[in-house]
Assembly symmetry: C2
Homo-oligomer: 282 residues x 2
């Protein structure tokens, strides 16, 4: 049996939109992901952009809703949309709560029982998936960028700040920038990582950027009509942390936009161009 099972492949903007399944060592079970290969990938290795989705989402969400393939086809970027957690874990309490468990992996490596055996999305995204993709797709892994939405924006920022050799460009839509300071983060981190907030700092973008800056400008778009803006997202905390740490940041606030993919699709082109420029495609 092949290492990667193809679920479907469909032509889109002269490239190929595929869905795939494989056995993940990090997550101890099957995982799904989506890959868009632009037309350029038929003849050369292409830079790759990871898009990490938010709470409740799957590998299908941004693939269907973000409208990123058109620009990826123009710029010659491979898009990778992973799932947001392991699935069908059978762990008691892993389903039924949209803020925690399946669909809410928070891109951490859980240290607490019973989550530590399966919920290891940090290792999956930072190491296992990139290595897997290199063996199957024409990715120029030296030129990888990462973006994401909400919980996935948190994932993108923390991945890039922790693994700058792996991710050379970073951006986010309405990210959770300070999980240690907001209810979503408290709930998830206390269960995945335990009650000592000192262990949370490695997954907190505001903490990380104070320790070490990212070599390049971070682009963040945030809707001002986002219902989670003041309770969970608090972009001003990241703005302040970047200022303190000396990090170059472009934080754009957009009047009237909410937390949905209607917001994301409105600005996805700017993000792909941001990454393409940083990855040498523009």
């Amino acid at each position: 049996m092949s290492e990667i099972e193809t679920i479907s492949e469909q032509r889109c903007h002269d490239g190929v939109q595929g869905f795939y399944r494989h056995h993940s060592e990090s997550c101890g079970g099957p995982m799904r992901f989506a890959v868009y290969q632009p037309p350029q990938a038929a003849r050369e290795a292409c830079p790759v952009l990871y898009f990490l989705a938010g709470l409740t989402c799957t590998e299908e969400t941004a693939t269907i809703k973000a409208g990123a393939q058109r620009v990826a086809a123009e710029l010659g970027l491979i898009l990778v949309m992973p799932d947001t957690s392991p699935r069908h874990t059978g762990i008691d309490g892993a389903i039924g709560d949209w803020e925690f468990g399946e669909g809410a992996g928070f891109y951490v490596d859980a240290t607490q029982s019973p989550w530590a055996s399966r919920f290891r999305m940090h290792d999956y995204i930072a190491s296992e998936l990139p290595a897997l993709l290199k063996r199957r797709f024409p990715v120029d892994a030296e030129r990888s960028g990462i973006t994401g939405h909400s919980m996935g924006g948190h994932g993108a920022l923390t991945m890039a700040l922790r693994h700058p050799q792996q991710f050379r460009s970073v951006s986010a839509f309405a990210p959770i920038v300070a999980p240690s300071q907001v209810p979503w983060g408290h709930k998830a981190f206390s269960r995945y990582l335990g009650d000592d907030p000192a262990t949370w700092a490695d997954y907190d973008a505001c903490e990380l950027v104070r320790r070490r800056t990212f070599d390049g400008t971070i682009l963040i778009d945030q809707g001002e009509a986002d219902g989670f803006l003041t309770s969970q997202l608090k972009p001003e905390l990241f703005d302040q942390a970047c200022a303190e740490g000396g990090q170059s940041l472009v934080l754009r606030r957009h009047a009237g936009y909410d937390h949905s993919y209607y917001f994301i699709t409105s600005f996805i082109e700017d993000h792909l161009r941001h990454h393409a420029e940083a990855l040498g495609r523009l």
Copy 2:
């Protein structure tokens, strides 16, 4: 109570993507539709493009998957995505078959019991919905175009050919062009319209275009890897009918593309530009 109930309105590409509900006289019950208002609609009446969806779809399908809002915002087109049938009709046999009944209205006015009381999508799209929209949205109704996918492509072609004063431009993605000659049409028309195929001709694009041409070029895109191409769609029949009737047609066949919205989103921009040009927006 307002004539139109707002379900949601969200900012998208500087315009407004809304979902609405109203009581339909044509369909004898509540109907939903989606409208995208481009930024230009805030200050002037805009041309309108109807997108009729296919089997199993709702007003959400093209709204989420087609990626049309970006180009509509650029061109100043209002987009209208209706549902594909009445819902919750309670009619025995109206649900459970994806090719017939709810989600499969086929854009006809049913004449047969028990369907005639509710399944009147032709009248709904040709008359009731345009009149309703004029009372609420800044539509320049004199400049209306229509497009659609599969069953909705059939709907678009037949609406435009029958109501050229109502719809000034027309295009379709992978349309059913000869329902009288294919299984989907046989099944739906025999139940909605009865067993006499003579009554089907008014809803058959190939029959209609032989009677009277449409004033303007018809644009059709068709994927050559479409699983329904040879059994249900048969674009060559419309090509031949247009040649016989003297209708201007651009029929583009695209290698590798299937019947999905990954196909539609790849070519949606061309369709919006086709309509914008015909409606005086380019």
